[in-house]
């Protein structure tokens, strides 16, 4: 009751962010727009479409000039039937969180109504389309946000997008002895029993044999 950020505050903050982004990066081909969520309270967020070579410039600008200190999610998607210039897409979801260290034995209480300008929390979606092909590469933002570190490892492990400049890349979710080049979320890999007819014909699984029988002996 009065302690949440209102829609107007949010819209104003995102509009300011759009203006700042356009001033800084429109020369590099970055498209900045304020998009509203389509459900719930319909808050706005900043969507940046960034060409792959300029990712590091935009990331550093976001962090140092626009106070974006939180990298929450790095998503890779494979579009084998997409456009020529959008065969893969990396989506960075970032946030500006107005968090500063309080002095000992005090707490830094943010009052929603008092927040404005650079201390307003905003959500940012940075989309980086990559061309069709077998070798999607994007510069790594590991040096900009520490939170991007394991997110990028997971994106490479599952989707296969390579992050140039990422130190100490290893498989985080799949086993370490997975075959080289096996990135399960690419669209050419199908899940087991992908043909659903088999599942309906034999719902209890009496006829199908598990593929991993006797795997470890």
């Amino acid at each position: 009751m009065g302690m949440s950020i209102s829609a107007e505050q949010n819209a104003a903050a995102v509009a300011a962010a759009v203006t700042a982004s356009e001033e800084a990066w429109s020369a590099l081909g970055v498209v900045a727009e304020a998009v509203n969520h389509s459900a719930g309270h319909g808050f706005a967020f900043l969507r940046l479409t960034v060409p792959a070579p300029h990712v590091l410039t935009v990331a550093k600008g976001l962090k140092h000039d626009m106070g974006v200190n939180y990298c929450s999610m790095v998503t890779g998607t494979h579009f084998p039937e997409g456009d020529e210039h959008r065969g893969w897409e990396v989506a960075y979801h970032l946030q500006r969180m107005p968090v500063i260290n309080p002095d000992p034995n005090t707490s830094h209480v943010l009052v929603a109504g008092d927040l404005s300008g650079m201390s307003m929390p905003i959500e940012i979606e940075m989309l980086v389309p990559l061309p069709q092909g077998d070798d999607p590469r994007v510069p790594s933002v590991q040096s900009v946000w520490r939170g991007a570190d394991w997110n990028e490892k997971e994106t490479w492990d599952l989707v296969g997008i390579k992050f140039d400049g990422h130190e100490n890349m290893f498989r985080v979710l799949n086993p370490h002895d997975s075959p080289e080049g096996f990135h399960p979320l690419q669209k050419q890999h199908k899940i087991r029993y992908h043909d659903f007819n088999e599942m309906y014909d034999d719902a209890q699984g009496f006829v199908r044999k598990p593929v991993d029988e006797g795997r470890v002996k």
Binding site: M3, F45, S72, H93, M97, P104, L110, G147, L173, H194
Partner: protein, 379 residues
């Protein structure tokens, strides 16, 4: 002194889940730590590409199994963003109340597992006994003790049963007295205090820089919470504020602060539940039938390619996000890509770093205070 690597392997009574923590110790002091995850990687993101939007909901329950209701709600908000559905207000109130009940149950499970880590086995029996109260309430809503599959795109599956509101109020009021009992047991126990205070310092800015959010950051003195910064559901109409703990030193908050913030969060959730159940539109004693427009709205089942949905939700352990692309198999019936952001996936490497400099005996205290849940980590 020789340094050696100790493997706290996947099967370990104190790791709260299946992951490996390797610590390099110099005598008794930890000098390096690394985490290895992936022992229960189930490929939910891949399986979701072969399921309808409604069929993905049970998978999201099983992501973080200790706080299932919050995770399925989180996915449902993303799906509703993708399919552009407006949810009736009564359903939002029910979702809010069930999520707060689940938050209390999850914190009780954390407390019940954390106490034995540091040597207090009584709190396990007490906390899990109270958790059963809330699990019974949620079982009346969802049908099962742990995986409810309760929210639907556009609302909720069924309305609150008759008499549920009275049982809820009675149990919450009883529980508020029980929290005082837990504090009596733990805060007056010298061993508990000595094991938790001064151990595991972490500052707020460090945590946010590393991607940590949720009660761990609120324990360091900043009241940031997704429920007020990007409000969803009816949190902007309730009388509440985020639970915050003041850090005890310039080095940040210790394990004791993280324990206290969760106790305060339980109290705050009780307050929110009692407030919401009075304000629910349609009254707390009425029960609408399944499919009534008061509790669920008609929702489309297909999403075109190119549409995306995103949800930012305050789950029990941090901020969880779901990012859904439309236009999958079945001419748009399935999601094309479901991406899940788990707060614990980012927190666990941070926890491994936080342990450096402390003794081996402090490892369970630090590990447990961040409340790991490996189900959401490994997806």
């Amino acid at each position: 002194m020789a340094k050696m690597w100790i493997t706290m392997g996947p099967q370990h009574p104190m790791t709260h889940g299946l992951w490996t923590l390797r610590v390099q110790v110099d005598g008794e002091t930890v000098v390096d730590a690394e985490a290895e995850l992936g022992y229960i990687h189930r490929g939910v993101e891949k399986i979701a590409e072969a399921r309808d939007f409604t069929q993905v909901t049970p998978y999201c329950d099983r992501l973080c199994y200790v706080s299932a209701m919050t995770w399925s709600n989180s996915y449902i908000y993303a799906a509703e963003d993708l399919l552009e559905v407006e949810v009736p207000e009564r359903a939002e109130y029910i979702r809010c109340i069930s999520a707060e009940c689940q938050r209390i149950a999850s914190h009780l499970m954390w407390l019940g597992a954390y106490g034995p880590d540091v040597g207090n086995l009584t709190i396990m029996t007490w906390a899990l006994r109270e958790r059963e109260m809330f699990l019974d309430l949620l079982q009346e809503l969802g049908g099962s003790r742990m995986h409810y599959n309760y929210p639907r795109i556009g609302g909720v599956k069924r309305d609150i049963p008759p008499g549920w509101a009275d049982r809820l109020i009675a149990k919450v009021k009883l529980f508020e007295k029980r929290i005082d009992e837990y504090e009596m047991l733990l805060d007056e126990s010298t061993i508990f205090l000595v094991r938790l205070q001064g151990v595991g310092y972490a500052t707020a800015e460090n945590m946010v820089e590393s991607g940590v959010s949720g009660p761990n950051v609120r324990a360091s003195g900043v009241n940031y919470d997704v429920r007020w910064s990007h409000p969803y559901s009816v949190y902007d109409q309730l009388d509440w504020e985020p639970a915050v703990e003041k850090p005890t030193s310039v080095k940040g908050s210790d394990c004791y602060d993280r324990y206290r913030v969760r106790m305060e969060e339980m109290r705050m959730s009780c307050r929110m539940i009692l407030d919401a159940i009075e304000k629910i539109p349609g009254g707390k004693n009425t029960t609408y039938s399944n499919g009534d427009e008061m509790i669920i709205a008609k929702a489309p089942t297909r999403a075109p390619a190119g549409a995306t949905g995103f949800s930012n939700y305050e789950c029990t352990r941090g901020a969880s996000q779901f990012y859904v692309h439309g236009g999958g198999e079945g001419r748009g019936k399935n999601p094309y890509r479901l991406s899940i952001r788990s707060p614990m996936f980012i927190t666990i490497p941070f926890v491994a770093e936080t342990m450096i400099g402390y003794k081996v005996a402090d490892i369970p205290a630090i590990m447990g205070s961040f409340d790991p849940c490996i189900g959401e980590t490994d997806r």
